[in-house]
């Protein structure tokens, strides 16, 4: 099949086609270090400023500097634009700019590209002096020809060399020019954004980059015959744009968490990068500990002695912290732990998303260690949740685990700028003397709650211990005390659950055929899929859980309104019908398992571990298949 191509010399009398779209996904891919991400970030920011919904996510190879021209080494960025708020990374890519055909192949191999994708491809490789490279190009073209992509060859190198000596350092701005024309972005705004992005560099850099931008723009204007219009929205109010990890870092500051102890681990570390940059001016200490265990210990020691603190990690790190988490629960020291989940088990997929730590977070501590587990669903919630988590940890004197994931950590999207309030901040540690006779665990027999004694409070001297203890914090092994103290620590969760509201229903609160239940970062994709399914006439609704331990109230009653309930999660579950898998031995998704145990409702699950966020299109397919009485 002959590929439809448009070379530099073609299109003298081009016929323009302009598509108005409400939703489109764009990618820029290159070898590592060629700046595709910078290009996409600027493009995304300008689009957000022009009123589009935007979700960008970086495409990161596993190595820092993988070999060039390698499908597995594709590095880049994906930008989804919409005429409404965009809540997830979407389905396949519609337009892609590729700096070499191997990076493009990498995306092709992952089924990332739509069948009718428009591809703007650097063509220098086709005529490369090295015959091996030319052969690779030919082979790639052959493989790509089996799909109905439209490939447009672009002489990027040749063009860029007219402005800079090293095109490797300029192609990204040329590509930005292509996209700016293609999507009719405001050229002046783009220049401003370039100036901002390179504000710390020499002025000549910005000047050259703007020249390259203009070059790409005019090349596109002369040579391309297709353009897209994504209508913008009226801004509802001031917006900010950042990724979920930056939101967690700022959220921690807003919450008055004055000390963060951590050990580097992907994909959580960028929270610490942000804190490292800004925390000190708030009087905050970011302590990089010698290991994950020490990070938990330092956070707990600091929390014990004063204000509530937090630690940041990912699955393998949380595993190392389990003994300390048990200690904090046992000694009733408030602590916030943020787990930015990645693919597991073991080292797993460090840069990729999974929601596989739910059970470990909830039940992973030896002994009975009741505590709170909650999950943000959006980037904006990553900011807000920190204040709430800290407040709950202090009110209940316990551990609160916040489960974010790699999808939120790397996704960048605008959200309404928070209206900050000093009330979010923790007050200074109480240093008033302890009245005579007060006990360090003076459990209210009804609620299990008690007042915390903090070093410095005269009259409150006691030794807290991870051993079984009584109200006075004295080691006690007698049956009555053991049973009573366990009851008191557990009771706090029930008391807390009584303050929670049932989750809202997206779709039809009255009920219907199918209820999808999700948690964490999948909310946007699930709700988009449910919206599409409802348009198809399917009786499906969804609900999204924020609190996983304790679970929000009213679930059993809500589930009763639907003929079938199914979770959608990014963790592993057996698929019924696979060899040896029976309804009896099937391993369920993690939330499904919890819901089944807690509600005794026969909750089904559709879960996938694909090393990428769930695409709404795939969820839609799953919904169609799993409708009661449907194909499945």
């Amino acid at each position: 099949m002959k590929l439809e191509t448009a070379g530099a010399s073609a299109l003298a009398e081009k016929e323009m086609s302009v598509h108005t779209v409400s939703d489109i996904s764009v990618e820029v891919v290159s070898d590592s270090g060629e700046g595709a991400q910078k290009c996409g970030t600027i493009f995304g920011s300008v689009s957000a400023k022009m009123g589009n919904g935007v979700w960008t996510v970086e495409i990161i190879p596993a190595e820092v500097e993988p070999p060039p021209r390698n499908p597995a080494g594709a590095s880049g960025i994906r930008i989804r634009l919409g005429d409404k708020e965009v809540t997830n990374w979407g389905d396949e890519t519609n337009v892609i700019v590729a700096f070499n055909e191997q990076a493009l192949l990498g995306r092709h191999d992952l089924n990332a590209l739509a069948d009718d994708a428009v591809i703007l491809l650097e063509n220098m490789w086709a005529t490369h002096p090295d015959p091996a490279v030319r052969k690779e190009w030919e082979d790639a073209m052959e493989r790509l020809s089996h799909r109905s992509y439209r490939i447009i060859e672009v002489p990027m190198e040749e063009q860029c060399l007219t402005v800079v000596d090293n095109a490797r350092k300029g192609k990204n701005m040329f590509a930005l020019g292509l996209l700016t024309w293609l999507f009719d972005r405001d050229l002046e705004r783009t220049k401003e954004q370039i100036a901002f992005a390179f504000r710390t560099k020499k002025p000549i850099i910005t000047e050259n980059n703007i020249k390259l931008l203009e070059l790409g723009y005019s090349w596109a204007e002369e040579n391309l015959d297709v353009r897209y219009v994504v209508p913008g929205m009226e801004a509802a109010g001031p917006m900010v744009v950042m990724n979920g990890n930056e939101a967690i870092a700022l959220g921690a500051v807003a919450a008055g968490l004055d000390l963060a102890a951590m050990y580097p681990i992907t994909p959580a570390t960028s929270v610490s990068h942000k804190l490292g940059e800004i925390f000190e001016k708030y009087g905050g200490v970011l302590h990089q500990a010698e290991d994950e265990i020490a990070a938990a210990g330092v956070a707990i020691g600091a929390s014990y002695a004063g204000k509530c603190t937090f630690t940041i990690t990912s699955g393998p790190g949380m595993a190392l912290k389990t003994e300390f988490l048990g200690l904090a629960v046992m000694t009733e020291i408030p602590l916030v732990l943020v787990n930015v989940q990645r693919g597991g088990p073991s080292t797993g997929l460090p840069t990729k998303v999974e929601q596989s730590d739910l059970l470990a977070a909830t039940y992973g501590q030896p002994g009975d260690a009741p505590h709170v587990v909650m999950a943000p669903a959006t980037i904006g919630e990553c900011f807000d949740i920190m204040t709430t988590a800290r407040r709950i940890a202090e009110a209940l004197r316990t551990v609160v685990i916040v489960l974010s994931d790699a999808n939120l950590a790397t996704g960048v999207a605008p959200f309404p700028r928070p209206e900050l309030s000093p009330e979010w901040q923790a007050g200074p540690p109480d240093q008033r003397p302890i009245p005579a006779g007060a006990k360090p665990y003076d459990w209210d027999p009804e609620t299990g709650l008690s007042r915390r004694f903090i070093p410095g409070q005269a009259g409150g001297e006691h030794t807290l211990t991870g051993l079984a203890h009584d109200e006075r914090s004295k080691v006690a092994y007698d049956s009555d005390t053991v049973q009573r103290s366990m009851t008191m620590r557990s009771r706090k969760l029930a008391v807390f659950q009584s303050t929670l509201l049932p989750p809202e229903i997206n779709g039809d609160p009255e009920g219907g055929d199918l209820l999808i239940v999700g948690w964490g970062s999948t909310k946007g994709a699930i709700e988009e899929a449910v919206g599409r399914a409802r348009k198809e006439g399917l009786s499906v609704s969804s609900t999204h859980l924020t609190f996983l331990s304790p679970l929000q109230p009213g679930l059993k009653e809500i589930f009763g309104r639907f003929e079938k309930v199914m979770t959608v999660e990014i963790n592993y579950s057996d698929i019924v019908g696979d060899p040896y898998i029976t309804p009896e031995n099937r391993r369920y998704g993690q939330l499904a398992m919890m819901l089944r145990a807690q509600t005794l409702v026969d909750v089904d699950c559709w879960t996938r571990v694909l090393g990428e966020p769930l695409r709404p299109g795939k969820i839609l397919q799953a919904i169609r298949q799993h409708m009661p009485g449907g194909e499945a």
Binding site: D384, T387, T388, A395, G427, P428, L449, L500
Partner: protein, 344 residues
């Protein structure tokens, strides 16, 4: 105490002296600001009806809790502290106002002694004035425990004399920079204020007696006379109370020395003299009576003991370590008792 810059030179010196004390100033401001914050938190959480408490709970939980938590029920978890009486609230608000005034700015760290005025009285007044913060915080503690009796305790809402500060309060004492004329530099009376972590820098222009601060040298007091602002850092960081005399320039007749309590066990180890003025031939001019006495006192303190066998390093043997008879006995007994293998 409002500041009035009396002279250009001493003004510059004052700024430099205040800068040297920045850590102490910040520590003080920070403690006061934190107290203000604590009062605000306390007042907001304890006043008003239960509906208000629910509102407060939702404020503290932040926007994430909206639609997810029942604020009224959560407020219940936050503890059912007694509602604050109007009277107590009034005391807290007044105290907060007082403290707020001391949580920033440098004016109350700066004292100017007018010509002919008494240095000691000026320092005393300045400390008493700042003492308001400690009085106010005592009033807060009484009021929030419901123990504030207006007749008895209203006094706490005005100045609080230095001698009434407790040990912890003296540890937090705000540092002072005092501009004083050379004629009025009679610092001997300052001894009573050199306690806790009080730090006083006397800024003086022109000639003075040779060692005005010599009389203030006591084993636990950091004392420095210098014309070099950089030398004041030791005063600020020393974990002892201290006083400095900052000259506007180096003069032959003014001694320059440091007495650092941590520098050794004996006076001579603790004192480093960088400049000792020549002794005048007695009877010259109209020297004040203290003139020679100061100098001799300083010399006597700084003099290395003669005739004592020196250690190799040139230091005298350290001061005798106190000995507890019980220890000696225990050691002797232990040495004699056979704790050998039972049963072997």
């Amino acid at each position: 105490m409002p500041s009035e810059n009396s002279g250009l030179d001493s003004g510059d010196l004052t700024v430099a002296a205040l800068k040297a004390l920045t850590p102490r100033v910040e520590a003080f401001h920070s403690a006061v600001a934190t107290a203000v914050e604590e009062i605000r938190t306390f007042v907001t959480s304890r006043r008003g009806a239960s509906e208000y408490r629910a509102e407060q709970a939702i404020m503290e939980l932040g926007p994430f809790a909206v639609g997810r938590l029942n604020a009224e029920k959560f407020a219940f978890l936050l503890g059912s502290g007694e509602r604050l009486s109007t009277e107590a609230e009034g005391v807290l608000e007044r105290a907060e106002e007082i403290l707020d005034g001391f949580s920033m700015g440098e004016e109350f760290h700066h004292v100017v002694v007018g010509p002919g005025e008494d240095l000691r009285d000026a320092v005393k007044d300045a400390l008493d004035h700042v003492g308001q913060v400690f009085g106010a915080s005592r009033a807060v503690e009484l009021a929030r425990d419901g123990r504030f009796e207006p007749d008895e305790h209203n006094v706490f809402l005005s100045s609080l004399a230095f001698r009434k500060w407790n040990r912890s309060e003296r540890q937090l004492a705000p540092p002072l920079v005092v501009e004083v004329g050379n004629e009025d530099l009679l610092p001997a009376g300052l001894g009573e204020f050199l306690d806790g972590l009080v730090k006083i820098i006397l800024v003086v222009k022109g000639p003075t007696t040779p060692a005005p601060l010599a009389r203030l040298i006591t084993p636990g007091t950091y004392v420095v006379q210098t014309a070099d602002v950089a030398e004041l850092s030791g005063l600020a960081s020393s974990p002892h109370p201290g006083v400095a005399l900052l000259f506007d320039e180096e003069r032959d007749e003014q001694a320059r020395f440091v007495h650092d309590p941590d520098a050794g066990a004996t006076p001579s180890q603790r004192i480093t003299v960088t400049h000792m003025p020549e002794k005048p031939s007695v009877g010259h001019g109209r020297r004040t009576p203290v003139w020679l006495e100061e100098l001799e006192h300083l010399e006597a303190l700084a003099k290395k003991p003669a005739g004592v066998a020196l250690d190799v390093e040139g230091a005298v043997p350290s001061a005798p370590v106190e000995e507890v008879p019980a220890d000696r006995l225990a050691a002797l007994l232990l040495a004699q008792v056979d704790l050998g293998t039972p049963g072997a």
